[in-house]
Amino acid sequence: MLEKALKGKHGYWIWIAVLFIVITIGFSFYLRQLDYGLGVTGMSRDVSWGLYIAQFTFLVGIAASAVMLVLPYYLHDYKAFGKITVLGEFLAVAAVFMCILFVFVDLGQPSRVMNVLLHPRPTSILFWDMVVLIGYLLINIVTGWVILSCTRKEIPPPGWVKPLIYLSIPWAISIHTVTAFIYAGLPGRNFWLTAIMAPRFLASAFASGPALLIVVCLLLRRWGNFDAGEKAIQALAKIVAYALAVSIFFVLVELFTVFYSGLPEHEAPFFYLFAGLEGHKNLVPWMWASTILAFGALIPLIVPPLRRRTGWLALACVAVFVAFWIEKGLGLIIPGFIPSPLETITEYSPTGTEIAITLGVWSAGLLILTLLYQIFIAVRSELHVTGDTFDMKR
């Protein structure tokens, strides 16, 4: 099936070429980072994680969102999702791939990365993160590929795939629970020390991931000759709406706890985010943009006549994606470090090298996604099957 990625229209190859160029540029900047050290980034003694870990954190949520297609279809027989579970699994593959790459480029001594497996420390949540991410990557590569091959040959999938798919459901929950636990278990970082961190990750994942899927489905309908079906897209949009509402609620709940209790150490990072702290306000415009985008997107997602209009839906989904890219990206990482444990404020802004490497990794992920989706489209168009007449679950 891989050979299907080698055939495409003009636009496909231009897109691939662009991705390769960005990857190459990013890689050359990474070589510079390897040579000089992580000092080429904007990270400092006080703010020791930045853009790379922000992308990793956000993408873990995107990766987990495959479960939003798999769970309704495989556990509850929601036939409308039957055609597109593979799209979700492939998105998970690309997203986890990017997660792993972002962690790798963030390491100070990347050649020693195998130490995590050679000298495992089960008390470390980062160890478990490596385990669950690699496991999730393997599960999704295998299930996505097998289901797609079976679709192509119009045969039922082998028996062993079903338990693996069922496993992917709690496993998806586990990947961002574990990632949330990296932050939520640190005693000195008040912004992160909240039990609701893992639920927040889940809620924003189920909003931002399906939002991306909707955009992809709309793109594939327009340019890929593949129609996911209006029912599936609308169902996904409703999932995004609910998850977005819950995410917003969770943030409001955080704000209440912090500001009603009045604990200065807990209030300070929120002040930094939304109003600036002692004159430092790098993230304030970003956070308000994220807030406006999130609230704004809620309307077209909830109001059915708007939701059914492709233009409004696409706009809302892009808004949701960007809002959470900010809120679960730098909007989550940086305030963990501000103020520092010694009550100083050191701001962070990414450097050009850092941005170039980040774009390179995103392009690498998009490349994987493009190749996998091209294979998917090719298989689908070969089938001449309109509608989900073939029940994959038998």
């Binding site: 992580l38 003694r45 100070g108 130490n115 420390r121 640190l186 010694l342």
Partner: protein, 263 residues
């Protein structure tokens, strides 16, 4: 019968795996136990005069420590080849001074007297009883010794900086660049570090091994630092702690810090 392409690839992959797998496991299994020609049972585990303790701790007498003195800092950073990058972003420090309000958040108020405001206590790794940095390290590069010292193994550190996020005291520094060019005068008796690893105060464990006190303790001209075994009821530090009121940094976090500030 010609095998299908799929079967061929499956067979080829299985063959390759079967060939390389045994070899790739070897380095892991072999670990680092050398086929030692010498006597592998160590008759003398320690160099003579090594100081031993159940739990090393330090008392900082703030009535003696003066804000304008940096003897401890200079001694430590010189001895341990701590670089000076000249900018706060890349800064590495094992021991430094902070205002009282930063060292003990919440203890200073609007009506605190001059004396407290003028204090600039030295801060460094607390070598906690229950260190969060050790808990989160994915490789065991930071670990706790049986005598309480929280150690760094610079050979194993992958530079993930989770320990820096976990430390509630801001005691750790990352080598964001190669430190060698920025060490004012390299001390050839102690290694430097390379870029990409995290470092911090090590309670001068290399000096303790030779029966010496930490460099900061020896260098302090006011004799404000007392180093000792806090679980030895007759140690100087225990007597001090019984006689005087002491504060620890953010003790409510449950980390069990072992630096006691005498006020």
């Amino acid at each position: 019968m010609t095998p299908s392409r799929r079967d061929f690839i499956k067979t080829a992959a299985a063959t390759v795996l079967a060939l390389i797998l045994p070899g790739s496991f070897n380095p892991v299994r072999a670990k680092t136990k050398a086929p030692v020609a010498g006597n592998a049972t160590f008759s003398k585990n320690n160099i003579a005069h090594t100081l031993t303790a159940k739990r090393w701790a330090m008392a900082v007498d703030l009535t003696k420590c003066t804000a304008d003195c940096t003897d401890c800092i200079v001694a430590c950073h010189t001895l341990h080849n701590v670089p000076n990058f000249g900018n706060p972003k890349d800064e590495i420090k094992w021991i430094w001074q902070e205002p009282f309000s930063a060292v003990f958040p919440g203890e200073q108020h609007a009506y605190s007297g001059e004396r407290l405001r003028k204090l600039a206590p030295p801060v460094f790794c607390n070598h906690c009883e229950n260190p969060p940095c050790v808990r989160v390290c994915p490789t065991g590069a930071t670990f706790q010794r049986s005598d309480g010292i929280v150690m760094m193994d610079y050979h194993r550190c992958i530079g993930c900086r989770l320990c820096m996020a976990a430390c509630p005291y801001g005691a750790r520094s990352m080598n964001y660049r190669n430190p060698r060019p920025f060490i004012d005068r390299i001390n050839p008796d102690f290694p430097t570090r390379a870029k990409g690893v995290v470092e911090k105060c090590n309670f001068c464990e290399e000096r303790i091994a030779k029966g010496l006190l930490p460099a900061c303790v020896e260098a302090c001209r006011q004799k404000a630092l007392t180093f000792g075994d806090v679980e030895d009821t007759r140690s100087e530090i225990r007597l001090l702690l019984e006689k005087r009121f002491s504060l620890r940094r953010r003790a409510h976090l449950g980390t069990g810090p072992q630096i006691y500030y005498l006020l």
